[in-house]
Symmetry: C2
Subunit: 258 residues, 2 copies
Amino acid sequence: MRNICMTVSYDGTAYHGFQTQPSNNTIQDILERAIRSLTGETIKITSSGRTDAGVHARCQVINFITSSPIPLVRWCLALNTLLPADIIVSNARQVDDNFHSRRSADCKTYRYTIRCGKHPDLFRRNQEYFHPTPLNTEAMQSSLPCLVGEHDFTSFCSIRSTKKSNVRTIYAVSLECEPMDPILQSYGIHIHVTGNGFLYNMVRIIVGTLIQIGEGKRSADAMSEILAIRDRALAGPTAMPHGLMLWEVLYDNDEISS
Amino acid sequence: MRNICMTVSYDGTAYHGFQTQPSNNTIQDILERAIRSLTGETIKITSSGRTDAGVHARCQVINFITSSPIPLVRWCLALNTLLPADIIVSNARQVDDNFHSRRSADCKTYRYTIRCGKHPDLFRRNQEYFHPTPLNTEAMQSSLPCLVGEHDFTSFCSIRSTKKSNVRTIYAVSLECEPMDPILQSYGIHIHVTGNGFLYNMVRIIVGTLIQIGEGKRSADAMSEILAIRDRALAGPTAMPHGLMLWEVLYDNDEISS
């Protein structure tokens, strides 16, 4: 038996999220079916964390236990042949028996992209949330540092969450603007959030609040006030899923999963 | 009556090319239907040139004659509301009565993108031709300068072309490599070709030949030999359409259409 770990990239547009559902139209369902076709085994894969319907992954990490004798170097090519064009596996490696994609993860980074301006970029329309009116990116930027550190993120957690503790640590948050595209008269705003774990909808609620700050509906100070008050009802709306991408997952011992 | 000119971007994946066809599923058909819905007029639009099925445009230019009183500033917003998400119009402006998107054009630039390496970029899978084995980009680069200038491009023209003369002028050709993506272990190769006009499939046949040079199936000198011999049968295959994008159209008097 081997514990095999892989990097998975997916365009989440066509799927009902990562985790298995009765619809069978999730990334996990598709991956498990492909592994079954390849090996004849019915296995359960573990991921670094679920992503919601419409959310993408540049670099999700999965692992699973297999008794298949297929050599490591063959796994990716063989699985990619069985997978649809919007899911790609790469970098198969054997890991310790006790490696667990989620529990062993040191930190995860999500990226959220807003396109702000006159026209969306149609080639990235499924990966960018389009905002047609100007945003105050300076106010947005200045609202972010308060999120760094260990905090109770109840205000930025879906009320449907079933987690016992809402305390998480954010290591870094950044906001970066692309140059204005002269044809589209719009530019991309990338928000990267790195933490030791994320609550249900946490990045999307932070971004929904951030957009309200950018719109001038709230002051830049609102972020820290909302954080302190621990009440989901006071934060902004949950931002649309398609702007979100699981960007990177890092593991202990500086082992970079990607 | 006004002659109105617009920039059009489209993702050609879902369409049967630019030019009207009985299928009605072309960019021109969709644009003319949207204009009819908006104005009640049945108009014919002119473009800077047709693009084949699957080919994209960052910046196509169209014009049409209309008697609609809709103010210029309203056209784009109104049309974009009626257009699907994979077609966007921008930058509506009134032009001289004798302006013609194709005949008035000074030069056009096409970009072809090859992704070379282990894995495709799934977020650009419809805009990049994926080549899984290495390409000799130095040989490819050194084969390009011979194309610049006024030449008879019969070798790089589909035999289905009905043009009288195959003489065209190429002003510039360049090949540019993106840095290697560490996760995908692949990189994008962008080929830009600027000319005063293009024959049917011309860029795609040049790129098909270029790929054979990159694969080592032909020497870098082959490009000039094929050009000189004026025989389509001696050039490489027509490269897949989805890697091609109409990049820019420039007009006389330094009037940049985009």
